[in-house]
Symmetry: C2
Subunit: 222 residues, 2 copies
DNA sequence: GTATCGGATATTGGATCCAATATTCAATAT
DNA sequence: ATATTGAATATTGGATCCAATATCCGATAC
């Protein structure tokens, strides 16, 4: 029997995955602008490591489509054209609606409470840049009930690619107010066990964001 | 004006991406068994490089979910549980049906001819292990007409994860014959411009393969 | 005979060093 | 004045070397 609590320091994250997580977050939140070059040397210095783990992190980001690398030129934050962004919204609408459809029958009271708490924090949030996190948390809480890990992973990746634009759009005009209203409607459908309605509302919610983004920004990038 | 043909040797693939492509192919085709350890040193020797580009290739594979890495233990080919495989089939059915629905109205005669040629090669193929390639080529040819690159990428990734099991199942019993029949039906719907029917047939085609796999193999791995 | 401990070996993660090439900018020819 | 050439610099990709740790196997205690 174990008499001491083990701490798994051996399983602690590698330098590369720490750097990856930090860069990913910076890109997803929009702190790094589209096209911004990511210098290996500079990043290595800021993390007090060599360039090796930095390169590993950059290859991970490239696999996720968050950066583009060119030989002898380096990595830059990968921006999306309007067509690409639109396609990703369409994809999300398709997959998230289906996940929602399958999640509703499995939602426990606890899941619904957690989601409700998310919305309350969303309404009370003072920092606009925090909306994005709460938005994701709300949706993920509901989706997780589906017990479809592969779907969740794919959704997360798609979300990463467009989150910056979504966040920028959320603070504009009536973005916040509409999101709040639509979230309430989705949660209501979930609470009543109406899977089809929840799925339809989810798709509308995402496609509405797509159209709103297309209006506000003529072209997102390059 | 350019008087000489330029060859872009500078843009030639890096060692890491060559190794990645080779390992990916080996895993997807099932030449490397589930759980098989991938030793950096060994791979490096067989490609006449150092371990650095090998590690880069392994991180790419890990991002794709094709290998699992553990610190100080190394990378192994990532097998799928029955539940995971089933989920990926469901995902494919959802996404590929939608892509097909949107592709049909855009299919030119050339696309249809290319797909038809695929099927003929499929029927005439002598090497059973070549079926898998032709199967993918057939579907991809049709999907590409949709002009939805993000969707295609996601589908490709999902396909990579289950292709081994699919190939193994294809050569069993009536797998080949049924695939041939279903492909013809799909192509027929496409040729007649019946998008909804093509989409429905595509979903059935994939879910049928899912069920067939579930029958033939009690558990896929681990 | 069996279980536990300790060192040898194997293997990975990271640091440092070297090679290759893109970019920049000054010098020069037209 | 402008376009071209060539050297200096910056930056990446890969090789070699070092540190950390998991695994294996023999020695030892009971």
């Amino acid at each position: 029997m174990a008499k001491f609590q083990t701490v798994d320091i051996g399983r602690s994250a590698s330098a590369a995955s720490i750097i990856f997580a930090a860069l990913r977050r910076a890109i997803v939140e929009g702190d790094l602008a589209d096209g911004e070059p990511l210098r290996q040397d500079e990043i290595a210095r800021s993390f007090n490591t060599s360039r090796i783990p930095v390169r590993e992190a950059l290859t991970m980001l490239e696999q996720q489509g968050l950066v583009k690398t060119e030989r002898y030129k380096g990595a830059v934050v990968a921006g999306l054209s309007m067509a690409e962004a639109t396609e990703i919204f369409d994809f999300r609408a398709l997959v998230e609606a289906e996940v929602m459809r399958r999640a509703v029958p499995k939602m426990t009271a606890e899941v619904l409470d957690t989601a409700r708490a998310c919305l309350e924090r969303f309404a009370a949030a003072s920092d606009p840049m925090h909306y994005g996190d709460l938005n994701r948390e709300f949706h993920e809480t509901l989706y997780r009930a589906s017990a479809l890990p592969y779907h969740l992973g794919v959704i997360e990746n798609a979300m990463d690619r467009i989150d910056r634009y979504l966040r920028a759009q959320l603070v504009l005009s009536d973005g916040m107010e509409r999101a709040r209203r639509e979230h309430l409607a989705i949660l209501d459908a979930c609470a009543k066990g109406e899977a089809e309605r929840a799925a339809a509302l989810t798709a509308e919610h995402i496609l509405g964001a797509r159209d709103s983004l297309a209006e506000h920004m003529g072209s997102v990038s390059r």
